[in-house]
């Protein structure tokens, strides 16, 4: 699976304002509403579900990256977005480091395979330190979009 298969381009944010875990998740979910990927009426329920998942264990997987996510019946295909915090946010990450790079995913409950393949693509690309660094220093959403496109065209992701 490629980034372009699930990242809502209009929802990409290169400078999140929030400085808390809850705030970043809310800001990203709102950006998906603004991009038309999720309905405004589902915002609260989706944010709540993502926070509930975080309570089970942080999705801050190290290297300054977090993958907050949830299943939600309101979506019929996997939707996601990318955001960067230049200051970094305390996400109770597994390695204790602040998180600068966020991939938020909302997937239909009956499609666990798609969710796994999105995680696979994200983790495969993030093993490339240069890619991580370039994303974190992106000046605008277009920079991020181009980096994702480049990764898609180089990747062997299935």
């Amino acid at each position: 699976m490629k980034f372009s298969d699930f990242v809502a381009t209009d929802a990409i944010r290169s400078h999140v304002d929030a400085h808390t875990k809850d705030g970043v998740i809310r800001e990203m979910a709102q950006s998906l509403v603004d991009a038309g990927s999720i309905a405004a009426g589902d915002l609260e329920s989706i944010v709540k579900a993502i926070m509930k998942r975080e309570d089970l264990g942080s999705t801050g997987i190290g290297r300054g990256v977090a993958v907050p996510h949830t299943k939600h019946p309101s979506v019929n295909r996997l939707v996601g977005t990318v955001a960067v915090s230049h200051d970094g946010v305390d996400f109770e990450s597994l390695d204790g480091e602040p998180v600068q790079l966020f991939f938020l995913l909302v997937s239909p409950p009956d499609r666990p395979g798609d969710h796994l393949r999105a995680l696979e693509n994200i983790s495969r690309q993030l093993r490339d330190e240069a890619f991580c660094r370039q994303l974190k220093s992106a000046k605008g959403p277009m920079d991020i979009q181009h980096l994702l496109e480049e990764a898609d065209s180089h990747g062997v992701a299935s």
């Binding site: 997987i61 190290g62 666990p112 796994l116 696979e120 994200i122 983790s123 495969r124 993030l126 093993r127």
Partner: protein
């Protein structure tokens, strides 16, 4: 005739000794969770693997990845029912393999179960 320990023989003996202190053990595991090997179990797995001195690797049909790295484990995208081989190499390989294997046997303590269980 006395066997002669040549330089070549000696080198081979040392190699055999080294490979004996470096235990390699492996077993097959099955991903039993209906959601597959997703972020939470991948984290549990990497956390457990890092407790051991031995190298822990996971093998799928097409990949061999470092079990101590959550990013590596996630690149397996192992869905429910996927068979993997866990391979441990090092002084505590047996104990490490048992610990990792039991995580799979217990479905990583996920609450929900597959149909028919």
């Amino acid at each position: 005739m006395n066997p002669v320990v040549t330089r070549e023989n000696e080198a081979r003996l040392i190699e055999i000794r080294d490979s004996m202190s470096e235990q390699v053990v492996s077993r097959e595991v099955v991903v039993g969770m209906s959601q597959g090997l997703h972020a939470r179990p991948a984290d549990q797995l990497a956390r457990e693997a890092r407790k051991w001195q031995s190298r822990i690797e996971l093998l799928s049909d097409s990949q061999r990845v470092d079990g101590k790295s959550i990013l590596d484990v996630l690149t397996l995208a192992a869905e429910a029912g996927t068979r993997l081989v866990v391979e441990a190499t090092g002084p505590d390989a047996r104990e490490a393999l048992e610990a990792i294997g039991s995580l799979f046997d217990r479905n990583f303590n996920e609450q929900e179960r597959n149909d028919g269980r």
